[in-house]
Symmetry: C2
Subunit: 237 residues, 2 copies
């Protein structure tokens, strides 16, 4: 499905990855607030929480469409790319580990080369649409576990995409040095606020967030840091 | 289809892109000759000549399997990724231009970000298989037209894949400074020789090669440079 709203001329076009989580939802709100026309890419890559993520992404897209923002949605089914991969994040993998993000067990959730594939598809779309920028919602909390979220990876990604596109497309990551708590503050200060009740963070394949996986723990900590109550439903809190 | 032959322990595993053309067929023969276990990735990406390329790739795979080489085939259907792209190479695009590779008209055959997507998928597979290397058959003749075949792109690609894979996967391009004529010589000197009669180079959607598109012209020049007769069938020569 590709959602098309009114095209406004002269706007900066940006292609982003929209997972349906807090960080990418904030990235979307942040770029729309800056007056960009945003092309959101969402991926079905065979993760346990993919169904819930995509539902969240769709709700977020609808939220901004209802407010007449210039936003397009591009969905890709790339499950086949990870058929040989072993990761607890995938439906083919073991149990999602519980506990803090920094725990060694969370390394089981790495999907080899995932973000490079996502970004490559986004860069190709940017080339096709004559967009000059792709933006990613990676943040500081991801660095410990995921090699493809670290600043040195992002720098190399920017370089390879710049050269691949004959020097027309750049990569931006406005949150790469921010914590999830910082990102939350960005999103709440926007008008309209980022629709956090619609976002999906939990790695598990269940309707209500588990509150125990590394991803949930980090989210809950971000809300707690600001003395806020997380507006989504949890199985346990 | 994944073809599995006898696994030999202690071999270097390499993931390559096998288009079915001369360069990637030579790369395959070259790596097998070096004693590598080779995982070949072929892509249906919606090009006009895709059907013919994939048939060629399958014949080349079979040629080496019959000779008991350690070789695997991984096919990916990624047509959806280029649904917004404009390129004469794609079934959705205009006529394939004729004439020499260096002609400006050949720029119409660029598919935005294609090689970065191919390489990203290959790098992810390498991570999943614990292979330490991906190899690409890009060569000097590609540089003028295709930004994603130039040495500076390859250097950046190596860097981004190295970091994405937590420093486990590297990119090699043994032919990046060779001409197509040089590559031909590599392939003919191997034992067994690279099966050039099985390779497919033409960009057009027709059984016999056209002999007129930039890709055919470059191939014919490579054979002519060595005083060799190209063993494939041409519509015109």
């Amino acid at each position: 499905m590709v959602v098309v709203t009114q095209k406004r001329s002269g706007m900066k076009k940006v292609v982003i990855g929209l997972s349906g989580g807090m960080d990418s939802a904030t990235l979307l709100g942040y770029l729309l607030d800056q007056g960009a026309e945003v092309h959101c890419c969402s991926f079905n890559y065979g993760s346990k929480h993919n169904k819930w993520e995509l539902e969240a992404a769709e709700s977020i897209i609808d939220y901004y469409i209802e407010r007449d923002f210039p936003i397009y949605w591009h969905k890709y089914d790339i499950e086949q790319m990870f058929r040989k991969a072993s990761s607890a994040l995938l439906t083919s993998g073991g149990e999602i580990p519980e506990g803090h993000y920094k725990a060694d067990s969370m390394k089981q959730t790495v999907v080899p080369g995932r973000n490079l594939i996502f970004a490559s598809i986004m860069a190709s779309l940017a080339g096709a649409l004559s967009a000059e920028e792709i933006a990613l919602g990676v943040h500081a909390g991801d660095h410990y576990i995921y090699p493809d979220c670290r600043p040195e990876f992002i720098k190399a990604l920017d370089q390879v995409i710049f050269l691949s596109s004959d020097k027309t497309v750049q990569v931006t990551t406005p949150f790469v040095y921010k914590t999830k708590a910082d990102i939350l503050l960005v999103g709440y200060r926007l008008n309209p606020s980022v629709p956090y009740p619609m976002t999906r963070t939990c790695y598990k394949d269940q309707e209500f967030a588990c509150g125990k996986c590394g991803s949930c723990v980090e989210r809950l900590e971000a809300f707690a840091e600001h003395g806020l109550d997380d507006p989504i439903n949890y199985e346990t809190k």
